[in-house]
């Protein structure tokens, strides 16, 4: 009986094939823009400017990618990749470190003004950097941090999502552990390093994935504060590769750069899929 019912709910036979076909069609449609960018990054400029361009890869893979990586348009793409890497890791690590510390303070201590700080941090949840760009730009310019990694990183770690996540998690750590640590005369920081941090490992990893992608994919902020091409990140640098006038864009190099820009986050997401999904669900709920 159970098996027959099963057959009524999950698809079998022809229906199963149809389901797979629909799914594959869906995946193909979703994937098409990426495929086309890849094809464009392996053919010559001449093949692209005489439409329609081919739909299968050409033989210029190495030439186009080498041209992008080592000469680029304004600056070698390798430089932009490095800047993006520093920014993404800086944001992920920076945010995780300050959030772990402040969540620990808020959960495990009673100190004057604790609630004020808590609400202060809570408020930062609400306002994306896009909304306060002009004054934030002035602050960063005032500190002389234009065209610097500090300027790229600090304004984007001023948000409380991670603090909240850790606070929620710390509240689930059994009180007995803190009690035992206190009885043993362990100092708070010893408890933090030996118990709290190791227990938070999975949360830290999941958050790292989310924050890495968040940092890597930033556009508006690097666009404003990196006027020096040497400091451009790859995601904002692609648009700078388009010529301003009527000149024809160097499509194969631009598309190779687009592919290079998506490889690191795609690797992170696909290889850490389970952590990523967990981080996504945790950080939104």
């Amino acid at each position: 009986m159970a098996r027959e019912v099963h057959g009524m709910v999950e698809k079998r036979g022809a229906g199963l094939w149809l389901t797979h076909v629909l799914m594959i069609l869906g995946v193909l449609v979703i994937f098409f823009p990426i495929w086309l960018a890849f094809v464009a990054s392996t053919v010559t400029q001449a093949e692209i400017v005489r439409p329609p361009m081919p739909l299968l890869p050409g033989d210029r893979f190495w030439e186009n990618y080498a041209a992008a990586l080592f000469s680029g348009v304004n600056v070698p793409v390798a430089t932009m990749l490095f800047n993006s890497l520093v920014m993404a890791i800086g944001i992920a690590v920076g945010k995780i470190v300050i959030s772990l510390l402040s969540a620990f303070a808020i959960v495990y201590f009673r100190f004057p003004g604790r609630n004020v700080f808590f609400w202060m941090i809570f408020l930062t949840l609400m306002l994306p950097v896009e909304v306060r760009i002009v004054p934030t730009y002035e602050v960063v310019a005032g500190f002389g941090m234009l065209n610097s990694y500090g300027g790229l990183i600090f304004p984007l770690i001023a948000s409380a999502t991670a603090t909240f996540l850790f606070r929620q998690f710390f509240l689930t750590i059994p009180d007995e552990l803190a009690e035992a640590a206190r009885v043993d005369g362990a100092r708070p920081m010893r408890f933090f390093w030996d118990i709290v941090v190791p227990m938070s490992r999975t949360n830290v990893a999941a958050l790292f994935v989310i924050l890495f992608i968040y940092g890597w994919n930033q556009y508006l902020w690097p666009l404003l504060i990196t006027t020096d091409p040497e400091m451009n990140t790859i995601v904002m640098g692609i648009k700078q590769m388009f010529p301003s006038g009527d000149d024809v864009a160097d499509w194969p190099v631009i598309m190779a750069t687009s592919i290079l820009a998506m490889i690191p986050p795609v690797i992170v997401v696909v290889s850490m899929q389970r952590l990523f999904i967990r981080g996504l669900v945790d950080s939104e709920k």
Binding site: H6, M8, V9, E10, M23, G26, V27, I30, F31, P33, I34, L36, V49, P51, P52, L101, S102, F104, A105, I106, Y108, F109, F117, M120, T124, L125, M126, L127, E130, V131, R132, I133, V134, P135, T136, V139, V140, F154, A158, S159, D175, A178, P188, W216, N217, L224, V235, M236, K239, W251, A261, M262, P265, V266, V268, V269, V270, Q273, L280, V281
Partner: protein, 293 residues
Amino acid sequence: MEKRVTFRGWWLPALLIAPQVLISAVFFFYPAGQAIWQSLFIPDPFGLSSQFVGLGNFEFLLSDKFYRASFVTTAVFSILVTLCSMIPALFLAVIADRLIKGSGVYRTLLIWPYAVAPAVAGVLWLFMFNTRVGVVSWYLGNLGYDWNHVLNGGEAMGLVVVASAWGRISYNFLFFFAALQAVPRSVIEAAAIDGARFWKRFWTIVLPLLSPTTFFLLVVNVVYSFFETFGVIHTITSGGPQQSTTILVYKVFSDGFVGQDLGSSSAQSVILLIVVGLLTVIQFKFVEKRVHY
């Protein structure tokens, strides 16, 4: 919820919380305060002094037809992005949920676009619809349709909507898929025994059970289309043609940085701040109450 067991002392927690408080104060509270403060002034053309105008900037904005048009554009844009990202995602999730084997492979392939930055997505879609070299626009031309998003506002809107919704399909798919997997099999099977066909089961059982996820995603996608689509618009249309794709966040940028109109830009920031506040309240309400059928 509070801890029963806590540590004593005040200087250690103060030290621990200091980095976050410092960074929030310098890069968040001060700029946000500045935005509110500057919104009450009009700087003179040389930026040497500014004149207090109270709510003048707001009054001007709300009577400005370009700003009102930008509100409408934002509303249309976010509704379309939300629909275009949620409906295909739900459809794909329902199909993937019916497969016993292989759904993991599809999931892996479908989450790719999430990792693609909005600005890069913009470049990919721009490439396909480019008026000179685009493959899709070329085939459309062969079919007798003359695609030109550089001149046609409706087509420009369509293109930025699709480019913005594309990466979000992955995100929504993951949430819908997880929610579908959590629907108890026994309920579905009971309905199947009672003779309910697939669509009947979907409308009467599955969809109502998905309502918390659906409402959550509605809010999150609206927030996304308000604030995180700047890259798409900047790479594809730069707000044009004739401001037909200038959403509110884009206008803060173009008035503040390109137009150098700081008073107006700050007032716009404050209005957006109120919008974010409202959306956040709605989000918390829905998430707290876990909307049910």
